[in-house]
């Protein structure tokens, strides 16, 4: 990065199963208006727009950023549209950071959204593909075998996934924007049916409509306020090929490489102790244990023990997903940006009821594809 970049405003929508009260533009503008307000800026102050979302078959509108250009205040401004599967919200934010880091743009609006209730998410994500046996039933159907492999490799007991799910809901109760907020008990989860065994219904993310927006700006702009900014210490997005013999899909190499790059650049040598909060992309409960290892918070095989000891709960050593995370709200295109945005809110001291005290460094993380795309950043309360 050529020059310092900071998050100066964050906004998000009320996430829900169906935002029937708004058009697609209405949904996106709700998040954008809040981000601009948070940043103390107006559309006229924005130099460029970076927008991202997941497959357009989810809404039945191709390249909706074209229709949305007017709604985003993008008329006669530079705009790019990012799409990197589930990680897109995060890689979109990182692309906005690059715009500012280049020296060519001082204030960039970045937005990510999904209004998947307008179609059918399962259908859109698992269409009948030509020349292929139609076996994979949704994202869960793809990932469940690797969750099983994690459980087998580590000897992880069966209550770990449910513990994660219960904790996500408990966290979401402190986040008024979250989609699923009702508390659950361990019994509720363990009694819920398997969707793709070993993944249970209550260990699975919802299908949500929602949007997230941020304003990222140069150091000079950030220092002028009105808010305490979140400094982007590092951010990287990596991808790996699918068809590599022996590819580790339980702890993908691209995730490990990306995390190392992000920590090294941010000067973090001991993530478990130098990061105070992490918002990581957990669409199926078991991934929380898996990602703790992939992200270097503990050794291989030890992630589930952190959960068992409750060290990732709100108020404990390293709160994970105090917002409730993807298990509480999953507008697919937005989820990655929500992770990065929530990490920024924590550093800015603006996470309200789910604020973790004394946050210096926060990690925001997202992944996508067949566990191939990884995009993350570390934000800090100091430059």
């Amino acid at each position: 990065m050529k020059r310092p970049v900071a998050v100066v405003g964050v906004g998000q929508t009320q996430h829900s199963s169906r935002r029937a009260d708004v058009s697609i533009a209405g949904l996106v503008r709700e998040a954008v208006d809040r981000a601009l307000l948070d940043a103390g800026l107006e559309h006229k102050d924005i130099d460029a727009i970076v927008i991202g979302k997941a497959p357009d078959q989810l809404e039945g509108v191709m390249q909706p950023e074209q229709y949305l250009a007017g709604a985003l205040g993008a008329h006669l401004k530079p705009l790019i549209r990012v799409h990197t599967a589930g990680s897109v919200g995060a890689s979109t934010a990182l692309s906005a950071v690059t715009h500012v880091a280049s020296g060519l743009f001082d204030r960039v609006l970045t937005v990510a959204f999904e209004k998947q209730s307008e179609g059918n998410a399962m259908w859109a994500l698992s269409p009948n593909l030509p020349f292929t046996a139609p076996l994979v039933a949704g994202a869960g159907g793809y990932f469940a075998p690797y969750c099983r492999a994690y459980i087998a490799k580590t000897g992880c007991p069966p209550h770990i996934g449910p513990l994660i799910a219960v904790n996500a809901r408990a966290n979401a109760a402190r986040n008024p924007y979250a989609h699923l907020r009702e508390p659950m008990t361990l019994e509720d989860v363990m009694n819920s049916p398997y969707l793709w065994e070993p993944i249970r219904y209550l260990e699975t993310c919802p299908s949500s409509d929602g949007a997230c927006a941020m304003v990222v700006a140069s150091g000079d702009v950030a220092k002028k306020g009105p808010r305490k900014p979140a400094w982007v210490k590092s951010g990287y997005s990596y991808a790996e090929a699918m068809w590599v013999p022996g590819r580790d899909q339980v702890s993908p190499r691209a995730g490990r490489v990306c995390a190392k790059a992000v920590y090294d650049k941010a000067g973090i040598r001991d993530p478990w102790n130098e990061i105070q909060v992490a918002e990581i992309y957990v669409p199926f409960a078991w991934f929380e244990a898996m990602w703790l290892e992939n992200l270097g918070f503990c050794d291989v095989g030890q992630g589930w023990k952190i959960i068992d000891r409750g060290e990732q709960k709100f108020g404990a050593h390293l709160p994970i997903n105090p917002s409730g995370g993807v298990l509480a709200s999953n507008p697919i295109g937005a989820s990655g940006m929500l992770r990065l945005g929530e990490a920024a809110l924590q550093v800015m001291g603006r996470a309200g009821e789910h604020q973790v005290p004394d946050v210096k460094n926060a990690l925001g993380h997202a992944y996508g594809g067949g566990a191939q795309y990884f995009a993350m950043w570390v934000v800090s309360n100091e430059l």
């Binding site: 078959q57 259908w123 949704g138």
Partner: protein, 334 residues
């Protein structure tokens, strides 16, 4: 690039239609505009910064993103600002089967033009023509832009002032039309590519083919044109066994639109003997709870004479009854 040593293969094609009835919620402004068409037979715009009176309105200025202002009714007559005459309408896309025109019409009182259609008098139609809306009858309007079925060329001059007509109204109906439905219907005409075509064709002969990396010798399944690992081409085809081991799996208990697999079913990652990549496969002839990581399985083929050279030639995999493979033999081949 090394040429494939295999003989040329006939193209393998498949047609699939992607269709879905999307429901796009309108929100207040679009919804009330459409309600104005449906219930009042009136056309409403909104005054916004940088654009004047926008018809049809979005609720914001597309010039600067600012929120919209007051509702303004416009006339159902206007001037054509662009004409596109479609000579051969496209079925299930265009609104008419006979030649027609798309137009942009700036209605009297509006500062922007709306897109619509003209069905008749195409020879008379040009940029600058005067047109008037032709409404669908009461009872047939649904709350869509097609509640105006089309515009017709009138030749009448631009009115000097907005004449007093029917009872003036301040606003469109309070209750918006909630959704606009789009029945997406997209036919696709895919090609398999020669590597996949060869693989599928060989299934007819009860052969499973992988492609071999020219650099490392690793066998890719299904056949890929290159190895991502070495970045070298993988154009040589080799046979792979139809027996292998379940490396991991899940039990699927959720139905998917357009699929007819009976639930629950086991979807497994299977490492076939001789292949360096695993494939997803259905496991049957045992109870789902009997399936295990490491279980040896074999393909169950469609009978001779019934195989077509497609992925259904392998019906599923079933346990062979052999002892399970040791964990170290498959745990890194998931």
């Amino acid at each position: 690039m090394s040429a494939s040593p295999e003989p040329a293969i006939a193209p393998l094609r498949q047609d699939l239609v992607s269709e879905f009835p999307y429901k796009h919620s309108t929100g207040e402004v679009i919804g009330r505009f459409l309600a104005g068409l449906k219930e009042q037979k009136r056309i409403w715009g909104q005054r916004v910064a940088g654009q004047g009176v926008v018809v049809p309105p979005f609720g914001y200025s597309e010039i600067d993103g600012s929120a919209a202002g007051e509702w303004v009714e416009v006339k159902s007559t206007g001037t054509v600002t662009a004409v596109a005459v479609v000579q051969q309408p496209i079925e299930r896309l265009h609104p008419f089967a006979e030649p027609f025109a798309f137009v942009l019409v700036r209605l009297d009182g509006a500062d922007t033009a709306m897109a619509h259609v003209v069905k008749d008098d195409l020879a008379r139609l040009r940029v600058g023509s005067r047109v008037a809306a032709v409404w669908k009858p009461d009872g047939e309007r649904e709350g869509s832009v097609r509640d105006i079925s089309c515009f017709r060329v009138t030749g009448e001059p631009t009115p000097k002032a907005i004449a007093a007509g029917a009872e003036p109204m301040n606003e469109p109906p309070k209750e918006p039309v909630k959704y606009v439905q789009t029945d997406v219907h997209l036919p696709y005409h895919y090609v398999a590519g020669d590597h996949r075509a060869r693989y599928l064709q060989a299934l007819k002969d009860k052969r499973i083919l992988g492609s071999k990396c020219s650099q490392t010798g690793r066998v890719l399944l299904p056949p890929m044109i290159n190895s991502a690992e070495s970045f070298a081409p993988a154009d040589q085809f080799v046979d792979v066994s139809d027996k292998g081991v379940v490396t991991t799996f899940c039990i699927v208990n959720i139905p998917v639109i357009g699929r007819n697999l009976e639930i629950p079913y086991v979807a497994a990652s299977v490492a076939l003997d001789g292949a360096d990549l695993s494939i997803f496969a259905l496991i049957q002839e045992c109870k789902p709870e009997e399936v295990r990581m490491g279980m040896r399985v074999e393909a169950v083929w469609k009978p001779d004479g019934e195989r077509q050279g497609d992925h259904e030639d392998i019906l599923y995999f079933r346990p062979t009854g052999e002892p399970d493979a040791p964990a170290e033999s498959y745990i890194n081949r998931l």
